[in-house]
């Protein structure tokens, strides 16, 4: 870890101002300090944003406001979140380990960087780090993307992003002097196009809160990992919909860990709209979601896992109480 300066800010204005000169925002720090220890991130200044007013609360309403500094554990253990947004709670419960969830924040989870093992290897200068080659494409790519809009195939790994995408959440960021709302798609759009991007946030953009509409929809989240717990998802899946019997409406089905962005296909959502859920419909949805998948040498197994997760997550929507 290189030396740096540390300071605590109390207003978004000062946060944005203080971070400008090669700084990084410090909240939970799990992702950032890991990158700094491996010299992948070399900020000259850490701006502690944990004391920013209003960023540590969950405020209920027509649209819930979840502060950027709410910890993942707080989200996981909030009884109301569990009741109203079970998919979000389930996604939170799968983040890291209890020790990580106790410090990791909602903002940090959304803004975390790639876990690609080439990107994280300190001695590999890959495309994502400004090099010329994505080594994963021809190399060890079992954890990598099935879909990408650019030569880098490292996938998004934020559980919360996947769940929040299904819930049509907006992420409110501070950009310069403005508060700007971004959809989850917008939050990650740049990562689809730009190999060096992990998300669409600029260096001084600061996540303030997440707003989740309470739309009377059910939600669910599932993931498959190599280990029972404390492991990254090989594939994750979140779904949300209004449910009447087996009929779904306002459907969102989103995959994680298969693309640089939480992966959503409008045609699949539309296909499910207003229909009774059955296996044929699910197969059609899966076809719509996965038709553009381009597996590499070692990640083709993600396709059957994605299919199983889509099926199970949709079933969970209609069977959960």
């Amino acid at each position: 870890m290189n030396p740096f300066q540390y300071l605590t800010v109390r207003t978004p204005e000062s946060a944005v101002a203080e971070v400008a000169d090669h700084g990084r925002f410090l909240a939970g720090g799990i992702d950032l300090l890991g990158e700094m220890k491996d010299y992948i991130a070399k900020p000259r200044r850490l701006v502690n944003v944990k004391d920013l007013p209003g960023t540590r609360e969950i405020v209920r309403g027509k649209s819930w406001k979840i502060g950027a500094n709410v910890t993942v554990a707080e989200l996981e253990n909030d009884g109301e979140v569990r009741r109203v947004f079970p998919g979000l709670q389930q996604a939170a419960a799968e983040v890291g380990s209890p020790q990580i969830r106790n410090v990791a924040t909602v903002g940090g989870n959304l803004a975390q960087h790639s876990r690609c093992w080439y990107y994280r290897q300190p001695d590999v200068h890959c495309l994502k780090k400004g090099g010329s080659t994505c080594y994963a494409r021809e190399g060890e790519n079992k954890y990598h993307s099935l879909f990408s809009g650019n030569p880098c195939i490292s996938p998004v790994v934020s559980n919360l992003a996947v769940a929040l995408a299904a819930l049509d959440a907006k992420v409110i960021i501070r950009r310069g002097k403005d508060e700007v709302p971004l959809t989850i798609s917008e939050l990650y759009a740049k990562a689809w196009d730009n190999p060096e991007a992990h998300h669409s946030l600029g260096p001084t953009d600061l996540i303030l809160r997440v707003e989740v509409p309470e739309a009377g929809r059910k939600s669910a989240y599932r993931q498959i990992s190599e280990k029972s717990s404390f492991d990254w998802a090989l594939v994750s899946c979140a779904a949300a919909a209004k449910v009447q019997g087996r009929k779904l409406s306002q459907v969102r089905i989103v995959l994680g860990a298969v693309s640089p962005v939480p992966y959503q296909v409008a045609a699949a959502n539309e296909l499910l709209e207003g229909k009774e859920l059955d296996d044929t419909l699910i197969d059609q949805a899966n076809q719509a979601i996965l038709k553009d998948a381009t597996p590499f040498a070692h990640n083709g197994f993600k396709i059957p896992i994605a299919e199983a997760l889509v099926r199970r997550t949709l079933h969970q929507l209609v069977t959960s109480s």
Partner: protein, 695 residues
């Protein structure tokens, strides 16, 4: 020839460890916790290339970093780098931060060279050579007896398979390393080691001083599993840094470094053909296998504990065999002995092909083993185990369970030598009745210190907690290094004979026939001011060698996602005289859980293009999580008449085989490669195009 008393009071009982309290309260000081006055932090600079010619190492800028007291090159002059992470230089300074900055100030001029890190590519004669004077693929070791071709021609059933096992990394939780203080008066080294004596030898030779000038201390150490015998390059560097800086240096490796340069279990690629008669008698075995021990393959070390060879055919006696085994060198860190070297590899191939045979013959796998296993003990264990496990009810035809989550069962067996000899010890009975027993062994977490206390307590008629067991110091009478499951069998007899001598002398000097138990204090008071001090050593008659064990596994496999959940492992193990029932069981747990990791999660991943290790951490080098650990049942066969044997290694051998067989039983198809990860399960089920291991 001494023998254990017929009636044992302490030995064989479940006895709490004498040192868990200090470990659980955080007061136990490990070598990595040592902070002698004026200590410095030490770190190593490692090659960032898998192969390179190094022409110059500039340490001057590193020396100028504030807080840096010493910087050394591992070797002077030009050198060749043969694996990613090879040690090139080291620094010592007043803080970790200073050392980190110094490492980044080291400048190395080097020309990267061609390299190869995948076994199947390395054995191609056109691949870059790891060692210029020899092909990567060493000459095969070939063994043949009987008439293999005829036996296969006559066999009623023939099965073939290609099985692979990964490079596994030891990853003891305490990293390799030492705190070393080199002074003109002598050297003290707090070593995280399995062999204080071997560290002393290594350091004395490295420093070119006599061994009496080096003291090695290991009160506690955080695991080794075969990878921590000598001082290592890191120990030598720490000693030199201490010499230059004139201060103690603590140099512990990082988790990253643990993945590169301090040992691993070799990989294997085994093509096996097995033939049997119609009634299931094995008649012919053929194997063509290779594996890598990293840069060690093909070198002098390849034949040792870190080599890529393994026993074949494992356990079973086949009248006609042809076995061809070869080592292939790659540009990667060298293998070292790893808990039961060779055996888990051998077991996986053999037990897998045996279950394939059982399927082909439509025979119960346990029955097939009972028919072919030459060990009477193991056959008995299979019978006991099958009954406890409910094998008859649980074993169903492969792939026959309903639903997407399929259950299956499997089993496998193990053999191990164990045994041990050569320990010395010293017992001191003080006039106040307190007892000190000293032995230059070390406790790796196996419970050795507790065994010392127990055996002494047995002889003296005292309780283990009344004994002060002092181990882990080269100032005590020498004992061997702790490897090969030999420690208990080497140490316990030495403690027994030593304490027996001390007891005899106490009886003589106190003039009391029975000084044990209730008479102890009054007898000791008669010693006046001079304690009883007795020395002794290992003697024949109290220990032996050779154990067998079997394990049964039950798994549930999600055929839609490839996820494997192990539900239960049953272990039936013999180990001669059980010294401490409690810690013996815990050893079995440990072996099983390590075997679980080997079966399902662990694999060092190297990158062809860059030659680096891609998973030098616990994030992607996956160890079993708490939630992955199944129900474990242990049945110990107690055979006191055989004396102490040792159990640390056999209990890890058959776990992966049993799990792999259970997965095959669940699926109806075999996953022939470890670890059995979702991608491999789904590939075996034909749900994805199989990934080529060559890329």
């Amino acid at each position: 020839m001494p023998s254990w008393p017929k009636k044992l009071e302490v030995v064989g009982q479940p006895v709490r460890r004498v040192d868990t309290s200090v470990k659980a309260t955080g007061s136990a000081k490990y070598p990595s916790d040592m902070q002698p006055a004026g200590w410095l932090y030490g770190m190593i600079y490692r090659a960032p290339w898998p192969a390179a010619k190094v022409t110059r190492i500039n340490l001057e800028k590193a020396k100028k970093i504030p807080g840096i007291n010493a910087v050394v090159a591992e070797r002077e002059g030009e050198r060749t780098v043969r694996f990613y992470g090879e040690e090139l230089a080291a620094v010592a300074g007043t803080s970790k931060q200073a050392c980190l900055d110094a490492l980044r100030a080291i400048e190395v001029e080097a020309t990267p060279q061609p390299f190869v890190v995948k076994e199947e590519i390395a054995k191609n004669p056109n691949s870059p050579r790891v060692w210029p004077d020899a092909p990567n693929l060493g000459e095969a070791n070939v063994r043949e007896h009987g008439d293999v071709d005829k036996a296969f021609a006559d066999a009623a059933a023939i099965v073939e398979g290609f099985f692979t096992t990964p490079v596994q990394i030891h990853h003891p939780l305490e990293p390799h390393g030492n705190t070393v203080s080199v002074t003109d008066d002598g050297t003290t080294c707090w070593a995280s080691t399995q062999g204080i004596t071997s560290v002393r030898e290594g350091l004395a030779s490295y420093l070119n001083v006599s061994q009496d000038k080096v003291r090695v201390v290991t009160d506690y150490m955080g695991g080794g599993f075969g990878s921590k015998f000598g001082p290592g390059v890191e120990g030598g560097l720490a000693a030199r840094l201490s010499q230059i800086a004139g201060a103690p240096v603590r140099l512990m490796l990082t988790r990253f470094e643990q993945s590169l340069a301090v040992g691993n279990r070799p990989s294997s690629f085994q093509r096996i053909k097995l033939g049997a008669s119609a009634d299931g008698k094995l008649v012919a075995f053929e194997m063509d296998a290779f594996g890598t021990a990293g840069i060690g393959a093909g070198r002098a070390t390849a034949g040792g504990g870190g080599g890529a060879g393994f026993p074949a055919p494992y356990i079973y006696i086949v009248p006609n065999i042809r076995v061809k085994q070869a080592h292939v060198a790659i540009n990667a860190g060298q293998a070292r002995a790893f808990r039961a070297p060779g055996h888990p590899i051998a077991s996986f191939g053999m037990e897998s092909i045996l279950d394939e045979l059982a399927v082909k013959l439509k025979m119960d796998p346990v029955e097939l083993r009972l028919k072919n296993d030459p060990s009477e003990i193991r056959r008995r264990e299979y019978t006991i185990g099958a009954e406890r496990f409910g094998w008859k009810e649980k074993y169903k035809p492969p792939g026959s369970s309903a639903g997407p989550v399929k259950v299956g069962v499997g089993c496998g067996g193990a053999t191990w030598g164990g045994g041990g000899r050569g320990s010395h010890a010293e017992a001191q009975i003080n006039p106040d009745g307190s007892v000190e027993v000293r032995c230059g062994t070390q406790d790796l977490g196996t419970g050795t210190r507790t065994l010392v206390a127990m055996v002494a307590a047995e002889v003296f008629g005292l309780k283990p907690e009344q004994i002060t067991a002092r181990i882990g110091d080269t100032q005590f009478p020498p004992s061997g290094a702790s490897g090969g499951s030999t420690t208990a069998a080497s140490v316990c007899p030495a403690i027994f004979t030593t304490c027996t001598s001390a007891l005899t002398e106490l009886q003589k000097r106190a003039g009391i026939d029975n000084v044990r138990g209730d008479n102890w204090k009054s007898a000791c008071r008669k010693l006046g001011v001079t304690p009883v001090v007795a020395q002794g050593r290992w003697e024949e008659g109290l220990s032996s060698s050779g154990v067998g064990g079997v394990q049964f596994a039950e798994v549930a496999v999600d055929t839609e996602t490839g996820f494997v959940k192990v539900r239960k492992i049953l272990c039936v193990q013999d180990c001669g005289l059980i010294v401490n029932k409690l810690t013996c069981e815990t050893q079995a747990h440990g072996g099983i859980i390590m075997g679980l990791g080997y079966a399902l999660y662990e694999e060092r991943v190297m990158d062809s293009a860059t030659g680096v290790v891609l998973n030098p951490n616990f994030e992607t080098y996956k160890l079993p999580n708490f939630a992955d650990v199944p129900e474990i049942e242990v049945v110990l066969l107690d055979m006191p008449e055989r004396g102490v044997i040792g159990v640390g290694e056999p209990v890890t051998i058959p776990t992966a085989s049993a799990i792999a067989n259970a997965v095959a039983n669940a699926l109806g198809v075999r996953v022939p490669s470890l670890p059995i990860t979702p991608n491999r399960v789904l590939a075996a089920l034909g749900k994805v195009k199989p990934a080529s291991t060559a890329t």
